[in-house]
Symmetry: C2
């Protein structure tokens, strides 16, 4: 049942890219989601070859973004590089974590509306280049507890509103269960994402309770937390989404475990909790 | 400028009710928001007399709620008691923290939709009694990071949807800056709350960054965090809201400080950051 499963390299953070790719291949996982740090370590051309030689596909590149700061030239430069890397790696989907309040700007550091406007401006700057390279900028709504420092996009509806001016082949959205499971408007907005042809990626991990002392590391293995994966996966499946399902876990305990055990557990939980709901109901 | 300021007893958690009321009166604060623990310690009749004798009004009683559990009789009993207490204390507004996923129910503990349906059912049970006592059930959307254990209402729009079947004099909503500041739909929903005559309370405190290790204690004094109080207060003022502005801070450092210093700082910050925006723009 793993034919749509993808291992995000963050889930096996200790592993080099080569080890992660090896592990995925040995466990019959057909795709990987790549973080740019692992790609940079290997070098982008070698990274592309590594994945290709293992017979895997790249579901997404994580991540571009951090668009809200004052240094527009540097932001555009870094994001164009990320677009180039995605093209070289052979994925269409570049996940964008758009950035929080610009803390480096003393003036206006509480200006949420301004930060959101800067995201819209930078998307307009970047979308033509992304389209020219065959890459889609995939907006990721992050849980509202990260609005200050990581993403001023907090809901799927807001991501779709920001994507609306652009062609769906240039700007899409990702549904990550951890970030959106609480949203009372989720069913409506997932359906809308499908209808508007913007659903570019589906990422799964669980919401642990209580929240970890470092909230960034509160993402858990499916089944260890409170998310109803059948319910959310069913919403995604009903849009006709036929892409990969990426498992992306930031968690100190998972990172400290043997990567082989992590992959085995991941496959078991995916098979039990996610895969059955992937068929259109 | 403190003529609409209200001290929530949680802000001076070390103080007895008598001390909190004394402090408010000495500092020229005309209202208090009462938590039921302080009321219970004093006894509800004595609490009512304490506040009345000090010449203060009660802006809200905090809190009823926790409606999602399986023991319906106990839930209704406790909330009817809270309604009675509010009536005795002379406030119209009973703040409702509606409860999270029912962890005591093994079956269905991941059923967010079910928990939300139970909130709607319990409101239907309680609204007639509240109306008969002249009390309004004030739904509080809590930050989405509390959806698991404290409130399955996460946005103001969702609170207004849940309130919609009931008369605005029986079921209202509260805007608490900490809980809603991130919401991309905030301006629209505050305007709607005013238009639908449901805006029953306005509570202020700041969002601290990073989030405290205990996320419940991450509420800060206005000005110590990232919230733009002029912007949100302006939205509230534009609805015509003419009620009190309650300062409710859960914060270990604030709680460890001398309550007189806390009140002095609170007034200073309120005057600088909140009060100027309270006039209709």
């Amino acid at each position: 049942m793993t034919n749509r499963l993808s291992l995000n390299t963050m889930t096996v953070r200790k592993s080099t890219l080569s080890e992660a790719v090896d592990g995925a291949a040995r466990h019959g996982i057909p795709a990987v989601g790549l973080w740019r740090d692992r790609v940079a370590e290997a070098g982008v051309d070698r990274a592309a070859k590594l994945v290709r030689d293992a017979g895997l596909r790249v579901s997404t590149l994580c991540r571009g973004g951090f668009l809200t700061g004052p240094d527009v030239a540097a932001i555009l430069d870094d994001n164009r590089r990320a677009i180039d890397e995605a093209a070289t790696l052979g994925t269409r989907e570049l996940v964008m974590v758009v950035g929080g309040l610009p803390h480096d700007v003393a003036e206006g550091s509480r200006d949420l509306a301004g930060a959101r406007a800067r995201v819209a401006d930078r998307l307009a700057d970047l979308a033509p280049y992304a389209a020219s390279r065959g890459i889609r900028l995939v907006l990721e709504p992050l849980h509202p507890m990260y609005v200050a420092d990581r993403a001023v996009i907090s809901t799927l509806g807001q991501a779709l509103d920001l994507a609306a001016p652009f062609d769906p082949s240039a700007v899409g959205v990702v549904v990550d269960t951890f970030h959106v499971w609480w949203d009372p408007d989720l069913a409506t907005q997932v359906e809308r994402a499908g209808r508007e042809a913007r659903l570019a990626s589906y990422q799964v991990c669980d919401w642990l309770h209580p929240i970890a002392a470092d909230p960034l590391l509160s993402r858990g293995m499916m089944g260890d937390g409170l998310i109803d994966f059948a319910a959310i996966t069913g919403l995604v499946a009903n849009t006709g989404y036929a892409g990969d399902v990426e498992v992306e876990i930031f968690n100190a305990e998972v990172w400290a475990s043997d990567p082989n055990d992590v992959l085995a557990t991941m496959i078991q939980r995916y098979d039990a909790l996610v895969a059955p709901a992937l068929q259109i109901g």
